[in-house]
Symmetry: C2
Subunit: 501 residues, 2 copies
């Protein structure tokens, strides 16, 4: 704890003239001028060439700022690299890492209604795209930039670099040795993060990670989250005839895989949304009394969200959102069997597929949770395979399901009384209102950081909650982007927790 005290004293020694807010407001146009070209580079991590182009651009942005950027490569040089930079502070005894990720979720361009996903555009209001004004004062808080990763999570990359600018402009420096890590494969489940951290562990020594990713609280202010749910993606396919059949000549004789899938999915949850898979909630580590108290203190956005989202009911029998996200979940991300609408034909489809994601909380192991789903499917009479069935298997088994899954990762939570948590809370408290969340509903690979480097982590959610992240028409509100830069600047000057002074 002594080292935190030194850090605090160093922070107090920083120039008192620093006003990141003024700097940000004066430089809105400059920030957009740098940000929009970054958003124009496609960043779905499965396209390695695109990812390299993003990395090169970000390295150039960091080099301009004297952050000594370098790419941390995987052993075979094939994985999307970590982008590393640093701002060593003479005399600082603590080191913190600010993290964001530069890859984005896959896109379905046909679904984007206001601009294609990699043609970033500024909108003055819904339906009113404008060229970015050259005058900072003309860029108002309510404007939005639409593009894939506009908020998730190139906003994190841009805001960290702009916060560095804001400090530099005022002659200030971070209250600790600053390291920066930008990941390029987070939206794919961070499959190479563990080996990358292991390979570069000396460079990545720190006293903690601050993750800049995710939305502000629905009630408005930034949210400091001390944990995240884990996540594992599962894909489930069931089989009908090997070729599509005429639905008149063969219905209802040939089994319909879409109906089989519907029955199978319906068996997994009850009417209230509670998962009915045996053992699904068994491993959950109960919340501490302090965590329960913190959750109870969080504003409840439920009624506002129900109105805004047009929801006539919610799952969980009316339990509040803040409590429900502390439980494991089973969600259908997508369904597909043949076609609907204009392209629909009178067929019995050959297959039906559901994409699922299982969110995990403390105590859940990804593999064990997936196996519970597999066991459930078996109990519904299915032969479960991890590949497509052979013709012989199709003839032999009445019901076959192919279940595949990504490795996934477990949840992570830093205790409320941890010094890192306390220091960040104090820094944000000085900056303005914020919400303290013991755990986020979303997922970040924080468990990997803990397991590989022994480092604790917290995450800071800054972007508008209605940003359509992971979906079409993703966007960031200018006010959130600018406030986010200011909040990160405050974090860079984090004090030690007040109760340990």
């Amino acid at each position: 704890m002594m080292r935190w005290l030194v850090l605090a004293l160093l922070a107090l020694a920083a120039p008192a003239t620093a006003s990141p807010r003024d700097w940000v407001n004066a430089h809105r146009a400059d920030i957009l001028r740098e940000y929009l070209p970054l958003l124009a580079i496609p960043n779905v991590a499965s396209n390695r060439a695109d990812i390299r182009r993003n990395a090169e651009q970000i390295v150039a942005m960091m080099a301009r700022r004297g952050l000594a950027p370098q790419l941390l490569e995987s052993a075979d040089g094939q994985a999307p690299p970590l982008i590393y930079g640093e701002w060593p502070v003479p005399g600082a005894t603590r080191t913190l890492i600010l993290y964001a990720h530069y890859d984005g979720q896959p896109v379905t361009p046909a679904d984007w209604t206001v601009t294609p996903p990699f043609v970033p555009r500024l909108f003055a209001a819904p339906g009113r795209p404008i060229d970015p004004p050259a005058d900072a004062a003309a860029i108002s808080d309510e404007m939005r930039i639409f593009a894939r990763s506009a908020s998730d999570d190139k906003a994190g990359v841009m805001a960290i670099l702009a916060a560095v600018d804001a400090l530099r402009a005022e002659g200030a420096h971070p209250a600790f040795n600053l390291k920066i890590v930008f990941e390029g494969e987070e939206e794919q489940g961070s499959p190479h993060l563990a080996p990358l951290l292991r390979r570069h562990r000396d460079l990545l020594r720190s006293d903690g990670w601050i993750i800049i990713d995710g939305p502000a609280h629905q009630s408005g202010p930034p949210q400091l989250a001390l944990g995240v749910r884990g996540d594992v993606n599962v894909e489930l396919t069931v089989y009908g005839p090997v070729r599509p059949l005429h639905s008149g000549h063969y219905g209802n004789w040939a089994p319909n895989p879409a109906m089989m899938l519907a029955r199978l999915l319906a068996s997994m949850k009850d009417e209230t949304g509670r998962v009915t898979i045996a053992g699904f909630y068994d491993d959950v580590v109960p919340l501490t009394v302090a965590e329960r108290r913190a959750i109870a203190a969080i504003p409840r956005p439920d009624e506002m969200l129900r109105r805004e989202l047009g929801l006539g009911w919610t799952e969980g029998g009316g339990a509040p959102l803040n409590e429900l996200i502390m439980q494991p979940s089973l969600n259908i991300n997508g369904l597909r069997s043949a076609d609907v609408g204009e392209r629909s034909r009178n067929v019995i489809p050959t297959i039906a597929t559901a994409a699922l994601d299982l969110r995990l909380v403390l105590g859940n192991d990804p593999e064990r949770q997936v196996q519970r789903v597999v066991q459930h499917i078996r109990r519904q009479g299915y032969e479960v395979l991890d590949r497509a069935p052979t013709m012989d298997e199709r003839r032999r088994f009445a019901r076959i399901a192919t279940v595949t899954h990504a490795p996934g990762y477990p949840a992570e939570r830093t205790p409320l009384d941890h010094p890192l948590a306390q220091a960040m809370a104090a820094a944000l408290r000085r900056n303005g209102p914020f919400v303290l969340m013991p755990g986020l509903g979303g997922s970040l690979p924080l468990h990997v950081i803990h397991a590989e480097l022994g480092a604790p982590s917290v995450s800071l959610g800054l972007w508008n909650y209605d940003n359509n992240q992971h979906a079409e028409d993703e966007n960031v509100r200018i006010g959130n982007l600018m406030d986010g830069i200011v909040a990160i600047a405050a974090v860079l000057q984090a004090d030690q927790p007040p109760d340990r002074r």
Copy 2:
């Protein structure tokens, strides 16, 4: 019945040298040379310009044969026209209409694996495309043409015209006044057929229609079907949040429309495939004793099909296909909610949609059957609309379903002892083996013909049963195409039923 006797005598007076089989075998290359360009014209009926191009091509093909073609237009000239032609036979007292349709099912080009849907190709064997040989003897029965409508139903158009050629070449003529009608909107549910028939009823007077459409029996021979199921397409959409939500931050709080749809669909059928919607089977007119006997006499392809299609079970608790297609059905044609596979994202989707088709048998009314489905959805707690919900409705009702449906049409059946049925059976019996089906599983707008013109109808299924009709990789086997021409030539010389001589 006297007029049928006259017809029979006229048929006996035709030249005895007619051998359509020899003509067809000698002209295989010529037939393909004319057929492949017709298949190259896209024919999804919603594209009116494409449909006109098809009509023009077919008119030219009929004009070459002296069939006096003309387009029978709708009142506003906007609907796909009927193509009409005729071969009046001096002295003939009966008139029969041969029908086929020149439009095809919608296509999803990405799903076609061997050739794009409108780039027709001849395959010598799976995976072995060849240029059509110039030598008729080099075109073997086992070759196949792949293209949309290769069998459904431009094969009907081509085979009728080639059968006319075969008769002409031998100096023969039909045993009746021949009229030909090619419809251009059958795969869209024939929405303009009734007004077109009404508008041109004088030209379309006849003693019966012979529909050339659909597959041969799975056991090999042509099938003469005396009836068809009716059909009505229903689309069902359920709603989640108005914008896609991050599945971590909002799962499981926000209702998931994919799960709601799964539960709703699962409620519609039991594990054996029996429809559990109240009243679904109530209106069914029971089969006659003669029909039951005829069905029992049909070869049972069940075991062969199960092997070929890779099915470990079938619906209907093991009842045979031939019996099950005499019952109404509820089939899922397609499912869609957000995305699966590469494009899947960690979202809670906004909507989930199922395309359904209801097959109808004698006694079922399309609207009444749809209303049973609607009532069932209401009983599951849904507010049912025929349009997308307003924001206010989304907030007010926990569960909303949008149900839309095409008009559809009822089933039709010509009795086993009807003179038209008997005459066709006799003609086919002379041609070789065939299967007599009291009713087909598939649908044709025969009810409209009966209602508008008072004409009975039968249908003749000729194409390979494994033709992927309505799906990707649709094809026709050359042997079926050539045998089909010969069978139609036999029908053109149809005798009167033997038991009435």
